[in-house]
Symmetry: C3
Subunit: 342 residues, 3 copies
Amino acid sequence: MKLSDIAECIGGILHGDGSVEISAVASLEDATCGSISLLASKKHTDKLLQSKASAFILPAGLSCEKAPFISCENPMVAFAKVIRLFHPLPSPKGIDEDAVIEKDVKSGQDMTIYANAFVGEGAILGDRVSLYPGVYVGAGVTIGDDTILCPNVVINDGSEVGKRVVINAGTIVGGEGYGFVWDGTKHLKIPQVGKVVIGDDVEIGANCAIDRATLGKTEIKKGTKIDNFVHIAHNCTVGENTLIVAQTGLSGSVEIGNNVILSGQIAVSDHLKIGDGAIVAGKSGVTKNIEAGAKVGGFPTRPIMEWKRIQKSLEKLPEIRKTVDSLCKKIQKIEDEESNNA
Amino acid sequence: MKLSDIAECIGGILHGDGSVEISAVASLEDATCGSISLLASKKHTDKLLQSKASAFILPAGLSCEKAPFISCENPMVAFAKVIRLFHPLPSPKGIDEDAVIEKDVKSGQDMTIYANAFVGEGAILGDRVSLYPGVYVGAGVTIGDDTILCPNVVINDGSEVGKRVVINAGTIVGGEGYGFVWDGTKHLKIPQVGKVVIGDDVEIGANCAIDRATLGKTEIKKGTKIDNFVHIAHNCTVGENTLIVAQTGLSGSVEIGNNVILSGQIAVSDHLKIGDGAIVAGKSGVTKNIEAGAKVGGFPTRPIMEWKRIQKSLEKLPEIRKTVDSLCKKIQKIEDEESNNA
Amino acid sequence: MKLSDIAECIGGILHGDGSVEISAVASLEDATCGSISLLASKKHTDKLLQSKASAFILPAGLSCEKAPFISCENPMVAFAKVIRLFHPLPSPKGIDEDAVIEKDVKSGQDMTIYANAFVGEGAILGDRVSLYPGVYVGAGVTIGDDTILCPNVVINDGSEVGKRVVINAGTIVGGEGYGFVWDGTKHLKIPQVGKVVIGDDVEIGANCAIDRATLGKTEIKKGTKIDNFVHIAHNCTVGENTLIVAQTGLSGSVEIGNNVILSGQIAVSDHLKIGDGAIVAGKSGVTKNIEAGAKVGGFPTRPIMEWKRIQKSLEKLPEIRKTVDSLCKKIQKIEDEESNNA
């Protein structure tokens, strides 16, 4: 592919020789002759100078003398597009004869269903859906166009998955919520008969678990991106374009707004609300509602700057303790002298 | 189904017209005409007044004028029963011809074994057992009557699973314990050749991992309920009717008593004991034994009230620090004056 | 097996009657007649005295009068070898006719491939490889000799797995890294097209997730042992003979050295380096680089002794707070008196 073609594809401004042939995309360190690479920010200029890449993508305003480059307003977005150019999605492979398709399944066009995938009764599959080996699609499930379910993904009965969704391997959608009530002699199961609804353009990492609602639905709205090992309990609602980083867990009936960022290893107690645009630092324990736009951290959560101030003071705590002890002695001494004087 | 029949089934007292036909069960918010719904406590009375349900389940002592209702001592238990009435467990489907059953397997009556399930040599399956697609039952495993293994559950060789057990999708029972010993040049594996024993009426969430013992057994006793992503290491014992919430991990050889509650994202260090009826708050790090009946939280764990007091003081720490600084100066001043006076 | 043969196999010194027949290996508590058991350290001598084992393995320097024993410099290493003697690895079973092997796969000798395992186009499998049911080996994957992939393990396209590797059930190798960039209207996926490289003798627990690199590779070097539920994000490097305990998560591009110990439920922020031989305590949050050989704990991490001192002071915090309040009053009183005197 010619560099000038790449520049056109990604909408960047070409500087230098556009006829250079580019055959691969690579990091600055790993690039070899024929590769295109990215300088994401000025601070990695050293790496660029040592790189063997034949062309670069640079942020607008920067330039480079050693090789032709494409100047981009948002170089990371441009680079994402370049990677896709050199690594296109695979073409449809059809339905393998060892796939198990139960009765009354409604199939789309140009699907890829591998051996050992299972599609339950009455499921509806959109166009260009990909089901890898070991995928389980339960009875009555709906899967939208262009959605990819990686190996061993489970979508339990009645769930709805939108378009252009990617679910990485081993993730379970629609497992039973954790709902029990003590009946005097045992924990009686509250049957979990609701569903999970996943919006368009949602991506979910590997080995996640999103539980079905007790009644009604657990919902992940469009454009939200979820990392590995995220636990979303029954009846939660997660808004649009929200990011949930690895190993975070939401208890039952939590409501997360749009454009929220939940960092890794966070726990959120049940029935809480986190407003639009809020940011929660990693390892936090959320035990009360969080306002829209708030930036919080800690357990319990506090405004992030306050939490950092506490962390800083904490370092000094053993010293503070000693100081307080010595102050006590000094004051005792002063008081003793005063009473002697009196 | 007539409301009077429902009242009889769940052992509640009918108030109002028992001939009303009920066709569904729903939450107060989602209920439509023909639904029965639950008012769990007085504080949601507003929702009841706006609900479109045709009948309600109410706690004994409350009443409602807008529709007939069933009065119940334990309304949540009653509601769990009503949900099951409208969502009965599926009937047996037999053994699919694409299921893989190795030799010498002893099968029960009325089983459901889906395509792509695998049952290893010499396994013993009880009556009405359900094995979903992708389930792996290892050699010599025993599965009790009415037990349900959801898609892609793995029960490794030699494990024993009781009656009426439900294991959600993706959970691994009997993986190798994490046991190594440094032999001077490498971490040598200590072979993990024990088993896992799971008692009757245990329920386990999605994507959990319960490791086999090094020797002997890892045991989960009857009636215990485990949420998603729970890690139980080799040689642990978990008592009866205990609750373990999501993303909690037990290190090796931990002993948990009966009726314990472990909240989410807890870690328990190896070889510790947690006594009957103890309650551990979320995100705690348990590094010493916990007495029966104790309520603890934090890392390291402390009595819950003490831990909350510390959390509260922590908020004031930056202020305390400043106060101590100013006290130091004041005392210095007093001391200086005294020495001047002397 | 004769005790004398066992002594020879494990290179220990036999004391007492070597003709005793040993048929099993068990813990001191569970041992019955015919078993051999281990006294790992002197403090469990009571259990040895009550044990029904017919022979023991003892640390060099200890002895026992009730039964013959084998004296070993490293008794745990010896015991690991004895367990393997009585529980040898299974012999090869060949390739099941219900396994799915795509075209151009290069197969080794003496493999075991169960029904419902899937091997993608162009994969290379070493000698004596075992693939259990539900395993997915993607296109172009390399699996080294003697490697065992337990049920439902997923190795995505292009990954490389070394020799003598054990990966427990449900683990996902090569899932897509969590990489997105905001393009002004949505989180655009940065295609994750790198691979995962796993060295020889690595062992990985159940339900882990090791993401493929964006470009280049995510690497786990030889001899490293990983527990259940460990999350390793894109572009991480983990050194040799490192231990990572359950439920720990590494963010993107983290570099872990050799012989490091990461305890359970740790989080490590992106792009950090942890030096050779460092030890990080459980539940820590690592937010800055850690020097080789350092022992740290807490969130943020501090030298372990400092962190413990802070924890200890924390217990006294409510008391310190009260003391500071009373000091304030006392000083106020002294100052008031002084101004009165003046």
